[in-house]
Amino acid sequence: MLIQTRNHGYDHTTPSDITPASVYQQRRDLLRLMASGAAGGALAGWAGRDAWAQTPRPGKLAPLPGAKSAVAGAATMEKSTSYEDASSYNNYYEFGTDKSDPARNAHRLKTTPWAVSIEGLVKKPVTFALEDLLKLAPMEERIYRMRCVEGWSMVIPWVGYSLSALVKKVEPLGSAKYVEFVTLADRKTMPFVGSRILDWPYTEGLRMDEALHPLTLLNFGMYGEVLPNQNGAPVRLVVPWKYGFKSAKSLVTIRFTEKEPGTAWNKAAANEYGFYSNVNPDVPHPRWSQATERRIGEDNLFAKKRKTLIFNGYEAQVGQLYAGMDLKKNY
């Protein structure tokens, strides 16, 4: 039981804002338990209905199926964004600053061969070929909400496994407190690397406990297929309770560090993009009011925008990571 006060960094206008989320989660967990055990066949199908066959495979790229995930909060029942929108409207500054640029330019990216090197404070520094990384743990489908700091959101069925599976495999040293993610910066295929928009390569970081959280996904696919280049192929991170830019695309290095790593956006504008960047309706951004969001493809022009939830609605799962922290300071 977590007791929250205003001093604990996140507060709610009414207690009912939080209760339903955990009750809901318990109910889901109970259903899964029943489905896997005594209640058997019929109920299993019903409990699993939300994650399966919700979004048809678009049939554009190689299939990459994932089993239904047992991780709490891993499968929202909200309607998935269309593949068309999710693969044509996104930010990937290496390919351009307009949201239609990545889909237009990312075909030049060469995703094979690909390797990810694990470096820093780790017992077993190693370079994984992509094929080995794909086999490291079973693939799961995770249907996450994705909230961009620009005030729009999507629901995307990702395919991958918890980053913690990889972290445990490489055995970080006790001195490792953070994980730094370095992404590809290839001038030959990425037209905006070389521009002064950001300090390339794009880097991001997580605290160790955030990296180990089961919801933090090492991601290889979406909509039952491998990732399109513009969405971060061949391997990216997905951290569903943080703004989208925390989920670095096209990873080449994962480094364990003792000090908080610098992040690309924090270096570019520290007053706007903090290290944590947890989705938080109470911490306004100078450009985008964060209180509400527009669900792409679902909220039409004249629909009321939906209220943004603290931690993007994943508070029941991740709230305890930030207990006692002032989230207005550590934004």
């Binding site: 306004p284 450009r287 022009l301």
Partner: protein, 212 residues
């Protein structure tokens, strides 16, 4: 050129041409062809068209005087009113699609809170407010009532609008480090305002009375 500008078709033609971006956006919104995030597209496009018409309006006087196209003056007021038209649309798109005006009961309060909270919105809103008296005094009787010198002085507010508009655009993009477009509009408006300063300075040196 002057002959062309004085042709009876020219003015209605410019009026219709200037309305085309609006028609295009309206049609796009109606038929859902504005991409994945139509609200963002509308807000952004109306802002860009405001800047474009601002550039055109401020280019009238330099073009008249540099190239002797005196008849351009016939179009200036209309172009200026289109600046206001697109600026107002830009604000309405923000108010309705971003802040939920007409959809959300607390929207007005939300907007009032939002304007000072985000400096770039405050600056954009200030520019719109400065355009308001210009639009309201854009007819002949207003000129007569105010007297030409006072009317001209009032309408020099458009220079402040240009500065605020570029600042608004710059600030909006500042966190994204993406200044290419800001630089283009900034350079054009900078040249158009710089031309006026230069001419003033030259006129003052030659002790010729300053013209509007």
């Amino acid at each position: 050129m002057n002959k062309l500008l004085l042709h009876p078709v020219t003015k209605p033609l410019v009026f219709v041409l200037a309305l085309l971006p609006f028609a295009g956006l309206f049609h796009g919104a109606w038929t859902d062809q504005l991409g994945a995030n139509p609200a963002e597209h509308l807000i952004r496009s109306t802002g860009e068209w405001t800047l474009r018409f601002l550039c055109l309006t401020l280019a009238v006087t330099p073009a008249r005087q540099q190239f002797g196209w005196a008849a351009l003056a016939r179009l200036r007021r209309m172009l200026g009113l289109y600046v206001f038209f697109y600026a107002l649309l830009h604000f309405l798109c923000y108010a309705v699609f971003d802040m939920g005006l007409g959809l959300d009961e607390g929207a007005w309060a939300e907007i009032v809170r939002d304007i000072p909270k985000r400096p770039f919105i405050l600056v954009g809103f200030a520019a719109l407010l400065l355009l308001l008296p210009l639009a309201l005094t854009s007819f002949n009787r207003a000129i007569r009532a105010l007297g030409a010198p006072r009317w001209r002085a009032l309408h020099r507010l458009v220079y402040a609008v240009a500065v605020l508009a570029v600042l608004h655009f710059y600030w909006m993009r500042a966190g994204k480090q993406d200044f290419a477009e800001v630089a283009v509009y900034g350079a054009i408006l900078g040249c158009l305002l710089g031309w006026r300063l230069l001419r003033r300075w030259r006129d003052a040196r030659n002790q010729v009375p300053v013209r509007a």
